[in-house]
Amino acid sequence: MLQRSVFWSALAGRAVQAVVVAVVVGIISFAMMQALPGDSAYRIAAGRYGYDMMDAASADQVRTELGLDQPVVVQLVSWLGSLAQFDLGKSSVSGSPIAEELKTQMGYSLLLAGAGLLVSLLIAIPVGIMAGLKPGGWFDRFSLAASIFFRAIPAFAIGVVLMLGFAVHTKLLPVAGFKGPEYLVLPALTLGLGLAAVSSRVIRDAVSEAMSAEWRLFSRTKGLSSKLTLSRHVLRNAALPVVAYVGVQLAFLIEGVVIIESVFAWPGIGHALVHAIFGRDVPMVQGTALALGLMYVVLNLIVDLTCHGIDPRRSKTA
């Protein structure tokens, strides 16, 4: 009973948040596109017909067709109106429905985000546990140094270095784009390294705290083996701060997806967003930004529910 009510209240809270995010992201991305210098009709016409094939007449035609000559408020209200009917509109450049494009791009972005998260956990969990079992030991200090190093370097720089090392010089892996699973390795590794740099430290702290806790010693002295103590007590207690932290990390994950997709020409939402900005494709910018924002809300909901699942104290107080 309790569990269910917690579930629904979390869901309701996030639903409200999703609506707010949709409206705010739509307005802000629209306003920022308006603030860009230059005539967007020219850029869109260039996007449609190529720079050599367009002229003032085709730009004017684009302007009337898309209603760019109307007052900005009217344009914004009409976008919000269609959004309320779950209609994201059509791309100004290609003319295809945005919802269709987002569907394929979302799949690629989720694949990259998921693979990046998986890589980060594959690195961070063993590293964090090993460092946490012997705080202050050589491995702990070494992993701290590595963590600072990888967090200090921006994701695009790590991506370029990996690209040079594994693709350009050694030709072990493809440079960019997506034609098969091997194309996933470098972008996922780039994303994963940045994420693992911080989450390995969070895991290390959680493990070292759990290992020195009095309840762990008591579990041992009451007679449970170290294996049972680990599986029945330590893991759950250590998992709690880690799962909560992954939630905080999501902002970094989404930011990372945008940058890394651009570096690796990954056909996902982040890549599409950057291109839409260059092409002044306002409905596309709003659509992709909206998708990223909502992705953030959904991922946070998943983290919330996982935390509730792990920590029984929450459902008692909620």
């Binding site: 009095e214 309840w215 008591f218 009451k222 007679g223 170290s226 207690n237 029984p312």
Partner: protein, 473 residues
């Protein structure tokens, strides 16, 4: 040397930290059906004895000497090998039961897993045995509660059930009554006293003479790791021969002299019809109090009654759910200072103590020489200030926190069980110092304590809180 009945035999046990001797040499033999009580102040090495037997000494400490447990020599076994005895041959009742229970697991599961995995019962039998434990220990209704929802006394009984599930013939209890109020510590003592009566062996470590008296058996008194006196508990407590034992007994609150009453000044704080709640539970209602300068008030009552929350309301850290707290304009915004129950939690862990104090002195424009004067008066050597909070004892740290509070030039000092983690001798000295300084500076002190005797002996006025009828939810 180990007869058939001897459960623990220790011969010339010495504990070292490098070349420094911390404990011993100590020898004793304990037959089944007997109790051994080890008494001494904090830092006397009492806990080291239990840790040396169990093989849980902290890194850097080593033990020498011969230890027999249930007829088997164990001193040469590694900690890993000795862990096979834990729970089965020797049960260990932890200090501070709240911290010893897994915060994320409900009470009955923590007991049931002992029956299941340590005693090796079937799933069904373990469930049955757990239900019986909760019944006999008067824990009915607490089965599905998390440790945070248990009182200290309940948590201690849950820990007791979890530790003794496999019926180990020996029970070691390290400070089993630490932080419990009189009534609850009585329940725990009863539980322990039953062990030798039922044929088991009890090794109890305590700093409280009243605990030792109830447990009976044999008594060892330790001072800085040395054995100063031994004998039958009743005998030693009635006629101590060593000076140190006498000092230890004199520090019991029952025999304290009453602190002289001070002359009260003007009104500093007025509390009218205040209600205090935590979460949805109302803890207190209709509370009135007038606090005058130089006055010492003690607020006593059982654990969980809302003493700490009330103190937070007085400090202005928590808003009362009803009523008003009015400060006189004599009291500045930093004029109310608070002393915490757990001194290590009240200091930044990685900052040298001297730096913490200097920051406070600078903030409040107090001369550093004055801070040093407070410290020397509280018996703290200046050299300690180079250390970090975890490198001084709890008693020293609490006295440093008193100096820190005084540096802020308070008109009112709120003290939340400031001595509950200190041994009786340090406790008496610390409270006497607070009273002295308060009288001299006209500071009003509100002391929260679970010990009604301390409240009686120390305060000018006493407020006893009783349990507010709990709402079921």
């Amino acid at each position: 040397m180990t007869g058939p009945n001897i459960t623990i035999a220790v011969e010339d046990l010495v504990v070292h930290a490098g070349s420094k001797k911390l404990l011993g040499p100590i020898s004793f033999e304990l037959p089944a059906g007997n109790a051994l009580v080890i008494m001494g102040e904090t830092g006397a090495g009492k806990s080291l004895l239990a840790q040396a037997i169990l093989g849980t000494l902290p890194d850097g400490l080593s033990a020498e000497g011969i230890i027999h447990l249930n007829g088997e020599r164990i001193d040469q076994l590694s900690s890993q090998q000795r862990s096979a005895f834990w729970g089965r041959e020797v049960a260990i009742l932890p200090q501070e039961p709240w911290r010893a229970l897994d915060p994320l697991m409900i009470a009955q599961s923590q007991v049931r897993e002992s029956h299941r995995y340590v005693a090796g019962l079937s799933r069904k039998a373990a469930k049955q045995a757990t239900a019986t434990d909760f019944q006999t220990l008067d824990l009915t209704g607490a089965e599905k509660r998390l440790p945070s929802a248990l009182s200290g006394g309940m948590a201690q009984r849950v820990a007791f059930a979890a530790a003794t599930a496999a019926d180990a013939p020996v029970l070691i209890a390290d400070e089993p009554t630490k932080g419990l109020d009189a009534e609850r510590s009585h329940t725990v003592i009863e539980l322990l006293a039953k062990v030798p009566r039922e044929g088991g062996t009890l090794l109890a470590i305590t700093h409280e003479a009243s605990v030792a008296k109830h447990l009976g058996g044999e008594l060892l008194v330790l001072k800085s790791g040395d054995l100063v006196e031994r004998g039958a508990t009743k005998q030693v407590l009635a006629q101590p021969t060593a000076d140190y034992t006498r000092e230890l007994l004199d520090a019991e609150p029952q025999v304290w002299p009453t602190t002289p009453t001070t002359e009260a000044g003007e009104m500093l704080l007025e509390v009218k019809d205040v209600a205090v709640s935590r979460g949805e539970r109302t803890l207190l209602q209709g509370f009135d109090l007038t606090l005058l300068a130089g006055e010492r008030i003690a607020i006593a009552g059982p654990s969980g009654v809302g003493k700490t929350s009330l103190l937070d309301v007085l400090a202005g850290l928590q808003i009362p759910s009803a009523g008003t707290v009015t400060r006189s304009n004599q009291v500045s915004s930093t004029g109310i200072q608070k002393l915490y129950q757990d001194p290590p939690a009240a200091f930044p862990a990685r900052v040298a103590l001297g730096k913490s104090l200097k920051d406070v002195a600078r903030l409040h424009g107090e001369d550093w020489s004055k801070v040093l004067a407070y410290l020397s008066r509280l018996g703290i050597d200046e050299s300690l200030l180079k250390r970090r909070p975890d490198e001084v004892s709890g008693g020293e740290l609490q006295r440093i926190s008193i100096a820190r509070a005084l540096t802020a030039k308070p008109a009112i000092l709120l003290a939340d069980e400031p001595t509950s983690r200190l041994d009786p001798i340090t406790q008496r000295e610390t409270l006497a110092m607070i009273a002295d300084i308060a009288a001299e500076k006209g500071i009003a002190v509100v002391l929260v304590t679970h010990d009604a005797v301390i409240a009686d002996k120390w305060a000018d006025r006493r407020v006893v809180l009783s349990e507010f009828p709990k709402r079921q939810y």
